[in-house]
């Protein structure tokens, strides 16, 4: 409990090296087991029937024909998932999203499900379920949905956060506001003002592994769930609450996860699989198809953002203002709120105001996607910042450096910053050879900054020392990108042993205490803190055991470089005892040696990045090509630098896809028209260049090794950096993401026509 998380500025021997990950061999040989790779005896196949309508009242569901089909073992509707949420509005939304109760709220909304002896019979059974819909007017556009005359999605919702409670319901669920100073006064002091509106389209996290689980509910109320998730403990809580199970009797095992990026922080099919298993009395495997993943899981918000920034001739920003409208799907969310907090976080502003509006639309429930909501806000703000720099006749990097936040700056979202890395990333970019490389015709260079909070949270870790001196580390955060390697490095560092002596695993919910969701870039930050704490607890025991073996007071024993050392000249004849020596005798010195840690990892350090990219645009077709890309980001301390680089590169690639290609396209009928990887095109290998990275290390004062989260910030700058590059290449300000070839051509045509 007396764990001191403060940064101590030590020298490292394991941390900062680049060993092979412990789970690697299983992943290159095909042995690693993901969500769909697990089976149980007597298992049935579950399938979900989904609404083809964007908005419809479910008048009646007749399942009788499906139930009679040979091989069908259970058919369920919302009636089989009674409302046990007890006034918890957020849980009710999760329940309703898992299985529509009275209305289908988007194309793809689940309305019924079957479990059958094989996939063919299950598919056949879905066709036999008759649903009587009363189709309602729908709305999928974020701006149209916010209008007064728009079809109402939920007539119980009145906009929160207004000075006076509104008399009429609205699709706008909430207004939030952040900032300080007086923007009117600030704009009055400005010599130049840029004011623009921007739009971004909805994207999907696009993990390659569809949602998959195997659920098994026993008649005695015990249950097992095998599932690909970013947070098996949170899934356990949600499923237990929705199914009326006792949490400790539901054992959830997190499979290897084939990508999440925020999209596997949310239950969809898991409560349905459990309900099917409960009704059928057999295990049920439920795997989403790619079409279902697009139509019914994920996506981000679509957004519409107005930005206004003013500056004096000397380049000082005098005021900044933004209004952000974010789509939430058909359920209330806080997505615009995050956008409003992050929008101007990179800058030192005397007068700043942001207002966010959460907007309901008939699209899937918005889920987190890597630094959720921040990339869109950064796109709008960083585009306007670039334009203002041009108007001032200042270099875009110098303009940002002049206005960058630093230690002591009041953040636009409220508090005062501690030591932060925005200035150093900008200086690194200014001096980077990429900024000086020549450009050819039709090529443009852009740069942009990004910010993300990073989270900590409840974390629990067990460290067990075997009698042969090997160490097993059980963690409760899911390994989404190599954290078992980084956490093994941390355990090795703290114990003073070799990395190869440590084996890290992700424990199931019955083997370890509760852990929060692996989100907010917290995996390595939080679990490394818990691992350090667990290792220090184990060292106390190791010292005690060494003292017993030597028969001296424990206070005379210190732990150095993996050995117990008797301190003082009187012990000159006592050779150091290695961890292995002490472990070998553990049976007779008090039994197994272990270190545990349960803590709240708070104080995650905020993170900043600056990206540079070069884009070539074909003015005839509007086609774009990324020529060169560089990421500079503060990691606090890179525990395993190769995987830190991997996070930087992966986030940049996702941002590139979002900026140039990816978008949900809805027809007038409210149906998603591109629910597959052929028509929703994520970047492939031939679309991208190598992605250069530069890791900066500005220690987080609230972590013993200085670690900050690194996973999310890298997706924040790309939309803006690429928009700035395209705008510079074609000489027209791009204001609508993605900048697909038709949109670029339309912008060029509009410019020609004046």
């Amino acid at each position: 409990m007396n764990f001191d998380p403060r940064y101590s500025g030590r020298n490292f021997s394991s941390v900062g090296t680049r060993p092979i990950r412990p789970d690697g061999i299983d992943k290159v040989t095909g042995r690693a087991r993901y969500g769909a790779d697990f089976n149980m005896a007597g298992q049935l196949v579950g399938r979900i029937l989904r609404s083809p309508h964007a908005h419809a009242v479910i008048k009646k569901i007749d399942t009788s024909k499906a139930e009679k089909l040979a091989g069908v073992k259970a058919v369920i509707t919302a009636k089989d998932l009674p409302d046990l949420t007890d006034g918890d509005a957020a849980m009710y939304d999760i329940l309703d999203n898992s299985m529509a109760r009275t209305k289908a709220l988007y194309d793809g909304h689940a309305v019924a499900a079957v479990a059958a002896i094989d996939a063919r019979i299950a598919r056949q059974a879905l066709k036999l379920i008759e649903v009587d819909y009363e189709v309602l007017p729908h709305i999928t556009d974020v701006d149209e949905a916010a209008q007064h005359h728009a079809p109402l999605i939920n007539d119980q919702i009145f906009t929160e956060g207004l000075e006076e409670k509104p008399a009429k319901p609205s699709n706008v669920t909430k207004r939030t506001q952040f900032g300080h100073g007086d923007v009117h006064k600030g704009f009055a002091q400005a010599d130049f003002i840029v004011e623009r509106s921007f739009k971004t389209e909805q994207t999907h996290q696009g993990y390659i592994e569809p949602h998959a689980c195997v659920a098994s509910v026993n008649p005695d109320g015990t249950a097992d769930l095998w599932v690909c998730t970013q947070g098996h403990f949170v899934y356990r809580q949600h499923c237990a609450q929705l199914l009326g199970l006792e949490a400790s009797k539901l054992r959830v095992t997190s499979s290897e996860i084939g990508g999440g990026f925020g999209g596997k922080t949310h239950v969809w099919a898991e409560p349905v699989a459990l309900a099917l298993s409960r009704k059928a009395g057999r295990p049920v495997k439920l795997v989403m198809t790619r079409d279902e993943v697009f139509r019914a899981s994920g996506p981000t918000s679509a957004t519409s953002i107005d930005v206004k920034i003013g500056a004096r001739k000397d380049g000082t920003i005098t005021a900044a203002e933004a209004t952000l409208r974010y789509s939430c799907g058909p359920y209330a969310g806080s997505w615009a709120e995050i956008g409003a907090m992050t929008a101007f976080a990179c800058y030192n502003l005397e007068n700043v105001k942001t207002v966010g509006y959460e907007v309901l639309v008939n699209r899937p429930k918005t889920a987190a996607y890597r630094a959720p909501s921040a990339p869109m806000a950064a796109f709008a703000v960083e585009s306007a910042v670039d334009e203002l720099a041009h108007e001032l006749g200042m270099n875009a990097v110098d303009f940002r450096i002049k206005n960058a936040a630093q230690e002591g700056t009041r953040a636009s979202y409220g508090p005062v910053y501690g030591p932060i890395g925005i200035g150093p990333t900008l200086e690194a970019v200014k001096n980077h050879p990429h900024m000086k490389a020549p450009l050819k015709a039709n090529q443009g260079r852009g740069m942009a900054c990004g910010f993300w909070f990073n989270f900590g949270g409840q974390t629990c870790t067990d460290l067990n020392i075997g009698m042969d001196g090997s160490v097993s580390l059980a963690v409760g955060t899911v390994d989404v990108g190599g954290s078992r390697a980084s956490l093994s490095l941390v355990a090795a560092e703290e114990l003073g042993i070799d990395y190869s002596q440590v084996k890290a695993i992700v424990a199931d919910t019955s083997s370890l205490g509760y852990n929060d969701m692996t989100d907010g870039s917290r995996g390595t930050f939080s679990s490394s803190m818990a691992t350090i704490s667990a290792a220090r607890n184990a060292i106390k025991i190791l010292r005690d055991r060494a003292a017993q073996m030597w028969d001296i007071p424990v206070d005379d024993v210190v732990w150095e470089k993996g050995h117990a050392i008797a301190k003082g000249e009187k012990y000159g004849n006592l050779s150091p005892l290695s961890l292995k020596d002490i472990a070998a005798k553990s049976g007779t010195t008090g039994g197994p040696i272990a270190g545990h840690s349960e803590l709240v990892a708070d104080g995650a350090g905020v993170s900043f990045a600056t990206h540079i990219c070069d884009i070539e645009v074909d003015p005839e077709t509007g086609a774009t090509r990324v020529i060169r890309y560089t990421v500079v980001q503060d990691a606090g301390k890179a525990v395993h630098p190769t995987y830190v680089e991997g996070q930087y590169q992966g986030g940049a690639a996702q941002g590139i896809g979002w900026a140039l290609n990816e978008e949900y396209i809805y027809g007038k009928d409210g149906r998603l028209q591109n629910a597959g990887f052929l028509d929703y095109r994520i970047p492939v290998c031939s679309d991208l260049p190598m992605i250069d990275t530069q890791i900066l290390e500005i220690p987080n004062p609230n972590h013993p090794y200085g670690v900050r989260g690194v996973g999310e910030t890298s997706i924040v700058p790309p939309l803006a950096a690429i928009a700035n590059a395209v705008s510079n290449a074609v000489g027209v300000r791009m204001t609508h993401i993605p900048m697909s070839p038709p949109r670029i051509l339309a912008a060029l045509d509009a410019e020609r026509e004046g």
């Binding site: 929160e160 000075e163 909430k174 207004r175 709120e337 996607y369 409220g414 949270g457 995650a604 004062p701």
Partner: protein, 81 residues
């Protein structure tokens, strides 16, 4: 006594005031006193409020002490990806 600043939307349920002087030794006491003074804040606390103390954001450590003279700022508790 510590000076606490609330973010825009929260100040709307705290008498429209963004700055409050409150006698509280830690986050738990701060939340309790705020809720006593402004009952409208309670649902917000249940939904989650993060506390920035001198720029470091605390989301769950309610035992965290509030040092005199510290910069205390309340923020919404956010979701991540």
């Amino acid at each position: 006594m510590v000076e606490v600043t609330l973010w825009g939307s929260l100040s709307a349920v705290a008498g429209g005031k963004s700055r409050h002087d409150i006698e509280a030794k830690d986050i738990r006491e701060l939340f309790r006193k705020l809720a006593e003074q402004y009952p409208g804040i309670e649902p917000w606390i249940d939904r989650g409020i993060a506390v920035a103390i001198d720029g470091t954001i605390y989301r769950d450590t309610w035992s965290k002490e509030l040092p005199p003279g510290a910069e205390i700022f309340l923020l919404p508790r956010l979701a991540g990806g």
